[in-house]
């Protein structure tokens, strides 16, 4: 298709490449990077899928059937992670008497119960802010958690057929003073057999002796979760399952029919129990986790896409410049009788070679990159299962195809242009000055595209134009993309005026070198612009992320300040791995004379219209401690026995109005009716959708855990804080925060997200830097004579280097300012679009903005190092000799 039958041209193409390895490297560097990101993304997600597959087949290894209780309809919506978190999900369990019943069924080889629930190891360490001679130092409790992985307590398997957990040191637990620890946690925290360890299970921490260290399916622990394994009876007591188990594992005789056994077991209690095939369940569970990972994979692929997109810019640019350099050679070929078409093919086949080489190297680099990512995540304790890195052939092929296609397409335009070269060019002795097409048409086209983008964007913001079938955000996104394309088209025509703004400044600071550098970037506005564009993309995204998060932080701060009226809030330290706050804490706080007002929040899952719903309970004082807005009804009525309060959004969604009757299915009580007496808005993240007054209902007042506690104190000073700390410190897994701490916490979460985004975006900046290196190398090459002349008449090497650095800084400033401007504008638009959702804050951090512009300029200068050195080392005689 690209004329591979024309062997002489193919040969010339190949020879050209072999003669100029640097040229190949320059052009292919961006292909290599783009492809490598795709490959790394793929390896990473494939390897994780693979590891999860192994893990889940490990979970049920040797087990044929699993018997589990049928949950109430409404509870099933919550999936497998019920029982975790501060909201108590009252899941049904199985009576442990059923185990013996199942054992008697014909064909059952063995059956044993599994108990699993929340438990967390605790260690004591010195506070970071005190010295070893202070006895208080040992009092800091540290909740052990491996990264973000959950923490579990479970019963040690009692069957000889169970092979999930294997003791690698010591022995299994045999009484209520012993525990076995998973090896990941043991290694990570320096525990060994014989040590004493405190375990937080239920509400009260207790101390055990580690009698064994165990491995799960040959890895330290499943998915990095921490496991405290107790003997069966102890597990039942600690994990709130006295006389019960969570599920029963069954091993079937080899010669029995598995389906018959399955039916026989379900016949014991077909209403309350279901029997599932363990291997099928393993596959199902692995699938559901893999779907979660797909999201991560999608993000990686988006960033790979950005890298490739930036790469395409650079490839096209580089090709154009390379071909310009070879004008003579190509026109000689034309003079010798090569047709335009053949030149075109020659160039395209060269690009094909480069594409293949680049993509191949990209695959290799991608493998390296995935190792780096994996190790990096491990370093940050990002609990992912261990396993080999997997590169599927299809992923490799896809990466190569994308690389090749993008490269060839990027070479088509430059190739066409090259084929137009006049055969006379070879004979003429001219400096390679490209014909200058008017940039005016570009300006017109680009401006109209940008204006239509603006129309789409402002159309939705100021509601004068709505695109059909697009959401507000989608239309803003569409408008932003159109504007971006428009600006990319315009950039070459605004290069000159833009650079001219800096003429004076550069002339003043750098003298004649500044003048030369600014003039050089104006000389080839297209090249300058497309190099800058690559950087512009990265900076647009970075400043978008940057401004959005700064604004979100400001928003969070505003919300916390407006909404949390209480002096202090107590909540579980880690919301997904802790059972909540033992109720003793609120009692102790109430006894303090400094505490003036206090409200507890509790929550439970109930059924409403056959769907799960979170029912919350609060004290009367909550209305003084959290900002709420009355919509309908009154608080006084809400305090009555059968009254229920409903959040505004829930009332709107479900068409609930005042004095309606709602029927809830409450696990402890059964069906119960309430009258809606109060509709209100809870201005912060609400803990529930329906609310009761806590003391009105026994099933709430008898609970042992609070979700949150809010309270005021007489005087918010250091002494009070110390007193509070003393109390709260007795409750592991619970933290005390004031307004500032709440703001800090919200901000740190946003910041973490931002850092991850920065990490990925920096790849696109990295690709853009290769573009700058390319452009400058070629620009230096083009100006061999000019630089030689300057050296001859007395320009120092250092000055030549500086000239290249200055030129690079102009390109980077151009790209960085355009990108930052666009990013700020886009984030402003997004926040405008989010106004309906309560986003009002738009904050641009000057510090961050200038930091990133600075980073871009600095990186641009780093990218110029090689071209600058090359320019300064140029042989003067070669440059000025006239042969």
């Amino acid at each position: 298709m690209f004329g591979f039958t024309k062997r002489p041209l193919l040969l010339i193409a190949w020879k050209n490449l072999k003669t100029y390895p640097v040229r190949i490297f320059l052009t292919t560097s961006s292909i290599i990077l783009g492809v490598s990101v795709i490959i790394a993304a793929n390896i990473f997600s494939e390897s994780n899928k693979n590891a999860f597959d192994n893990l889940f087949s490990g979970v049920f290894e040797g087990i044929d059937l699993v018997v589990q209780p049928i949950q109430e309809d409404f509870a099933q919506g919550f999936g497998d992670d019920g029982g975790q978190g501060p909201i108590s999900f009252e899941f049904r369990k199985i009576s442990d008497k059923k185990i013996n019943e199942i054992k008697t069924i014909a064909g059952v080889k063995d059956a044993w119960g599994d108990v699993i629930g929340f438990a967390q190891f605790i260690k004591f360490g010195p506070r970071p802010d005190c010295h070893s001679y202070n006895p208080e130092c040992e009092r800091e409790t540290i909740l052990i958690q491996n990264g973000f992985a959950p923490t579990f307590g479970a019963a040690w398997d009692t069957s000889p057929y169970a092979s999930q957990w294997e003791i690698i040191d010591g022995q299994p637990p045999t009484n209520n003073k012993e525990v076995v620890m998973d090896s990941t946690t043991a290694e990570g925290n320096g525990f060994s057999v014989g040590d004493r360890v405190t375990v937080l299970a239920g509400a009260i921490p207790a101390t055990f002796t580690i009698v064994g260290i165990a491995e799960f399916a040959n890895t330290g622990s499943p998915g990095g979760a921490s496991f405290a394994l107790f003997d069966f009876r102890t597990a039942q007591v600690l994990l709130d399952s006295i006389g019960e188990v969570d599920f029963i594992n069954v091993v079937v005789d080899e010669n029995a029919d598995i389906n018959e056994v399955r039916n026989a077991i379900s016949n014991i209690d077909s209403q309350g129990l279901e029997v599932i095939n363990a291997q099928e369940a393993a596959a199902e569970q692995a699938d559901s986790i893999k779907q979660g990972l797909d999201f991560f994979n999608t993000i990686l692929n988006v960033f790979a896409g950005i890298a490739i997109f930036v790469g395409a810019f650079i490839i096209q640019n580089t090709f154009r410049i390379l071909l310009l350099q070879r004008t003579k050679e190509l026109s000689l070929l034309r003079a010798l009788g090569t047709s335009k078409k053949q030149i075109y093919r020659l160039v395209v086949s060269e690009s094909l070679y480069m594409a293949i080489i680049g993509s191949g190297l990209g695959v290799a680099l991608g493998i390296g990159l995935s190792v780096v990512v994996k190790e990096g995540l491990k370093y940050f304790d990002f609990g992912l299962p261990e396993g080999p890195l997997v590169l599927t052939p299809s992923a490799a092929v896809t990466g190569i195809i994308i690389g090749v296609v993008v490269t060839i397409f990027s070479s088509l335009l430059p190739a066409r242009k090259a084929s137009q070269v006049s055969p006379l060019e070879a004979i003429r002795d001219s400096q390679s000055t490209p014909k200058r097409k008017s940039l005016f048409i570009r300006l017109i086209v680009g401006s109209s595209v940008s204006l239509s983008g603006l129309a789409v964007l402002f159309g939705v913001l100021y509601s004068f134009f709505r695109a059909p079938s697009l959401s507000v955000l989608q239309q803003v996104g569409l408008g932003a993309s159109i504007i971006f394309i428009g600006i990319s088209v315009i950039t070459p025509s605004i290069t000159k005026p833009f650079v001219s703004i800096f003429d004076k400044l550069y002339n003043t600071i750098f003298g004649i070198l500044g003048k030369l550098a600014t003039e050089n970037s104006k000389r080839t506005p297209r090249r300058t612009a497309s190099t800058a564009s690559a950087l512009m993309i990265g900076l647009t995204l970075i400043s978008l992320a940057n401004v959005l998060t700064t604004s979100f932080k400001a928003q969070a701060e505003k919300v916390v300040k407006e909404v949390v009226l209480a002096d202090y809030q107590v909540s579980a330290a880690q919301i997904f791995s802790s059972p909540g706050i033992p109720t003793g804490l609120s009692q102790e706080l109430l006894e303090l004379e400094e505490v003036t007002e206090l409200s507890r929040t509790r929550a439970t899952v109930v059924g409403y219209n056959n769907r799960p719903l979170i029912l919350g309970a609060v004290d009367k004082e909550v209305f003084d401690l959290i900002k709420t807005v009355d919509i309908a009804g009154s608080r006084e009525d809400f305090y009555k026995q059968d009254a229920i309060g409903v959040l505004k959004f829930k009332a709107d969604n479900d068409n609930i109005s005042l004095n309606d009757r709602v029927t809830l299915t409450i696990p402890e009580v059964g069906k119960k009716d309430f009258i809606v007496k109060y509709i209100f808005d809870w201005t912060t993240q609400p803990p529930a959708e329906f609310f009761l007054l806590l003391d009105n209902h026994e099933f709430f007042s008898n609970e042992s855990l609070d979700t949150e506690i809010y309270f005021n104190v007489t005087n918010k000073d250091e002494a009070t804080k110390n007193k509070l700390d003393d109390i709260v410190d007795h409750y592991p897994g619970v933290t005390l925060r004031d307004q500032d701490a709440l703001i800090d916490e919200a901000n740190s979460q946003i910041q973490l997200l931002l850092n991850v985004i920065y990490g990925f975006l920096s790849i696109s900046i990295f690709v853009a830097l290769f573009g700058i290196t390319n452009t400058l190398s070629l620009s230096v090459y083009e100006r061999t004579r000019e630089i030689g002349l300057m050296r001859a008449i007395g320009t120092l090497r250092k000055q030549i280097r500086n000239m290249v650095f200055i030129e690079s800084s102009i390109i980077s400033i151009f790209g960085a300012i355009l990108g930052t401007g666009l990013g700020i504008f886009f984030s402003w638009s997004l926040i405008q679009a989010l106004e309906d959702q309560g986003f009002t804050e738009f904050v641009v951090s000057a510090e961050q903005t200038f930091l990133w512009i600075g980073i871009a300029i600095f990186s641009g200068i780093v990218a110029a190092i090689i071209p600058a050195i090359r320019a300064s080392r140029q042989n003067i005689l070669e440059a000025i000799s006239y042969e």
Binding site: I512, L789, M790, I793, G794, T795, L796, Y882
Partner: protein, 242 residues
Amino acid sequence: MEKIIKAKNLTKVYGEDGTSVTALNNVNLDFYENKFTAIMGQSGSGKSTLLHCLAGLDKVTSGSIYVKGVDLGSLNDKELTKIRRDSFGFVFQAFNLIPTLTAEENITLPSSIAGRKPNEEWINQIVNAVDIGDRLNHRPNELSGGQQQRVAAARAMATKPEVIFADEPSGNLDSKSSKELLTFMKSVVKELNQTIVMVTHDPFAASFAERVIMLKDGEVASDMEEPSQEEIISRVTSLSDI
């Protein structure tokens, strides 16, 4: 007359042992202040190599060059560059000017890169002499070939250098422009007390010089004072006959 450059036992060999070419073979020459010297020779005679070595653009294989007593061989790149910048001026055959700078900026380029203010009075004098006063704000591509070379000549003199090196300065010009340029060069030596060392293969160009040195196969074949164009032609002919 003051001796400004002394070349002693200059030898320049290109390439490795087996394939080496001797471009200069034990050349001994002195150049004097306030004099217009032409170096002639055929292609490959070593005349360009000699100029490059004298101007500190190339290193000699053996021998030494003293510029006002300073041994060029003892200088590093930075010192050599500064000598070129401050003590020498250059006019090349083509591509003499930076395309992005105006004529005026090109003329003051050596002072600019030295970070010095150009001597305005002196520059005005030169600009008038080369008659490009009305073209100062034009870029090179807006100037004729003759004008470009005159701008280059003006640049070469702008810092009042000790020596101006010219490498086939009129090589690309038509005869009228060529004559104008050479007349100007001759006049600056006389009237503005400049020193010029020019390499050329053209007897007409050489006839403007006060002294004509001829090279053949890397050696000095002839050294004439104030020769006429006819003398030069006959000497060139006799040399090429051998």
